[in-house]
């Protein structure tokens, strides 16, 4: 049957539908994907992400943080419970020990409403060579070889009637924020996700309820119309 491909988990395969455009239909430029162009774009993107994200992180490794400028961080605590994950992913090793920028893996955060869980292919980009003997990496490699996606447990979520977008928040707090540099993005992420440098698997430490959002919007002059979040 024609089921060799799969939208959700699919591997690069020629038995696959071809999309019309890269970008949103009717919004902005349409990038028509041809096999060659797509490869060039991929290459360029990888290069750019390394330059933009990774290099400054190396350059400023060990720099002390002084708080995010022009922002009043939201207040509120939540005693989240520990969530068992299929693989006990250590955020601390990646972010604190190795100084990897959050957006290197959660690359969609600046481009979409969701931050996205990195695809397994991204993990394997490093871990086909790095730390291959560690039990957790062996577990990961097993998933990869079986071509099976990892089913992570959701830790942070808002109800379906709340339209939260990572892209807009990163724009306001990082990219359009004078005096803020992208290598310190983890401090912005921490507003809602807590300090991942201190965690292995993510743990919910902020309430993420409407009061939490609204107070931050008030303090930072965010939009206040109901329909901004409740579409």
């Amino acid at each position: 049957m024609s089921g060799g491909y799969c939208f959700l988990f699919r591997q690069a395969s020629s038995v696959a539908p071809v999309p019309v455009t890269w970008a949103h239909r009717g919004r902005g430029v349409h990038y028509f994907v041809t096999p060659l162009l797509s490869r060039v774009i991929t290459f360029a993107l990888v290069l750019a992400s390394l330059l933009v994200l990774a290099l400054p992180a190396w350059a400023e490794n060990g720099a002390t943080t002084k708080g995010v400028p022009n922002v009043v961080p939201p207040k509120g605590e939540h005693a989240g419970k520990h969530v068992e994950q299929p693989i006990e992913f250590p955020h601390d090793i990646h972010t604190k020990v190795n100084g990897i920028n959050c957006m290197y893996c959660h690359t969609y955060a600046r481009r979409s409403k969701v931050a996205g869980i990195p695809p397994t292919s991204k993990c394997m980009g490093c871990h086909s060579m790095i730390a291959t003997d560690k039990p957790r990496i062996k577990q990961l490699t097993e998933y990869w070889e079986k071509r099976e996606p990892v089913k992570w447990k959701k830790v942070h979520d808002v109800p379906d009637f709340v339209h939260f977008t990572h892209e807009k928040h990163l724009k306001r707090f990082v990219f359009d924020n004078e005096g803020m540099s992208v290598d310190r993005v983890s401090e912005v992420c921490a507003f809602c996700h807590g300090d991942l440098k201190q965690m292995t698997v993510a743990n919910k430490v902020k309430p993420l309820n409407m009061g939490f959002c609204v107070r931050c919007h008030e303090a930072n002059k965010g939009p206040f119309d109901c329909w901004k979040c409740h579409k």
Partner: protein
Amino acid sequence: MSGNGVNRRDFLKILGWSGVGVAVAGCDRPTTVTLEEGKEEVVAYLQPEEYVIPGVGVWFASTCQQCAAGCGVHGRVREGRVLKMEGNPDSSINYGKLCQMGQAGLQGHYNPDRIKKPLLRKGGSLTEVTWEEALGALEQKVGAASGLAGDRFAWFTGTVSGHQSVLLSAHLAALGSQHHFVHEVINNAVGRAVNLDMLGEAMPRYRLDEAKVILSFGSDFLGAGISPVYFSTAYAKFRTGSPRGVLIQVEPKMTLTGGNADLWVPIRPGTEGAFALGIANQLLKQGVDAAGVPENIRALIASHDAEKVASITGSSADRLARIATLLKERSPSLVLAGASVEGHAHGYSAAAAVMMLNMLLGNVGKTIVAGGSSPFPQMEAKMGGTRDLIAFADAADKKNLDVVFFYGANPVYTAPSHLGLTEKLKNIPFKVAFSNFPDETALSADLVLPVLSPYEDWGTHMGIYQPEQKVVSIQQPLMEPLYPNKGFGDLLLAFLKMRKVKEYESFTDYYSYLKNAFTALPATVKGGALTNDEFWGKTLQKGLLEVPTVVGTLKPRLVEINLPEYKEDAQRPFHLVPSGRLGLWDGRHANLPWLQEAPDQISKIVWTSWAEIHPATAARLGVEQGDFLRITSDQGALEAQVYIHKGIHIDAIAVPMGQGHEEYGRYAKGRGVNPLKIISPGADARTGELALYGTRVTAAAAGRREFLVKLSSNETQLGRKMVATVTADVFNRAEPKTIT
């Protein structure tokens, strides 16, 4: 309040902000919504394409299959789910637009009543089985060892086209059968026959955009027509041209197109042919050249003077003359015939009389021009009608069939009772339904094979009406299958492999068959210097392939017109109008809640059937809106709530098609009535198509009443000027020449 120095605006502001205060206080409570950590799963991609960004939609081109028009679509896919359909701007059928049925198709895909596993009749009832068992049972009955051959096997389908049609024909050929019954209730089969005889081409190109006046006899080209979106675009051009086109609609019940007309003329059902001859009579009187008209037809026209026609049709003599004048003076015009003309025992002759007007008016070659043909006739749509339904019932009755495959049609629902199809089907030992839903036909089958939904499957299609540019439209899956079922094309291949192993063994699946078929096309069709993979990728990306279209020439000629005398029926004084509508269509969309909820364009009624009658008729019958009316033909009776509307002839009772399902899932089952069931026997004399509009009925109050659920329960604007109007006087002064 203004006395306190607080005006209304300030008051609302204060209220708003204090409201926020209250809300904020409340919103700090721990949320009770199911956001508990670790409850839901979030599945990461294994290895996404570069264009995949979670949260951002990616559009894929495909083809709409909600009707046979074959509009090109774009589907938005996000996180592996198809979420929204839009029109494909590259399609020369729909130019980026989509109708409500196309939008609602997703509800078929995600429908909770979808059949998830094959069903096999065991000991009288349908039981879930595995695909292996289902295909095993099928191989026994139709495989090479079964001995089944010749016309004892049949396919019964709706309109099919593209490579599915090619494989289906190959399957019939492999079994040596000629039996491909193609059935559509909403069709233009009689019109096609008229066109073929009078123009030399079944589907010519109607240039609405070139016409200055359109006289339409019940042609609902904006609604339940052959290509609603295509004609809506053409109609917009017609309306925005200079001078603005004038539409006159002559029909027994106001259709969506009729609702848009400048002049809507009610007509006694079945007398449209006489009306057309009446117009011809006026045209000749006004000096239109009739040199090429043979003597017998000229005599027929001469016998239809205005007074006689007025008395037959229930219109006025004066009106006929004015319409004729307008047609003559604003050339070119276009005269069309639709279902209400064709659906009679004399449907062919009536439609021929209508087409003759185009010839008299010199429209042929101007607003009716030759359509194109493609180099792939085998892929063009096989269009059906109701003649094949009659033929199929007959074959079943005579026990001429051993195995029948149903696909894209639900004859048990659409067949009038007089065909006795339910009983006759019992004569066919093995019936297979390729259906996603437990519809009436599927549930009377012996084996139900749930095929993939149109949003999960591969295919190619050619719309039934594409007169300018022929395109082969691609159907791509817009998401992975919801249930582990099989594609229709894959099944066709599997059946062919049962018989013709050698020819088909190289195709591992339908995808590879399609890719092979496309890449093997000659360079003239492919165009450009692309490699096979590039060409295939580009075609999928665009969603369609434009193929060379050869435009022929029309060969106009007149045919015999035999119109019977109109007869009153004292016993059954009313005519039943089983109207089609853009929405539920012929009933195939009754299981889509969006379309049930979308109000009928004329009556605004939702979720049920109704009996539409004129206020004078309501007075005559002593019923009010909401009363149940019992409508009885020689084939049975049905009861529906009265809807009173001036847009219907006083002798007509319209009951829309689409409801009255006995099966077909939770949204369709047991809702309203099916007017097709009480249609009287009778077929068009020339084409053998069912006379769907030829049923006489009686009507009487059924003695019960319910609230009629409809949008905008008031027919007036209550003086609010929501739609600005001018008097005919003012309008006439503004327009140089018009009609009243």
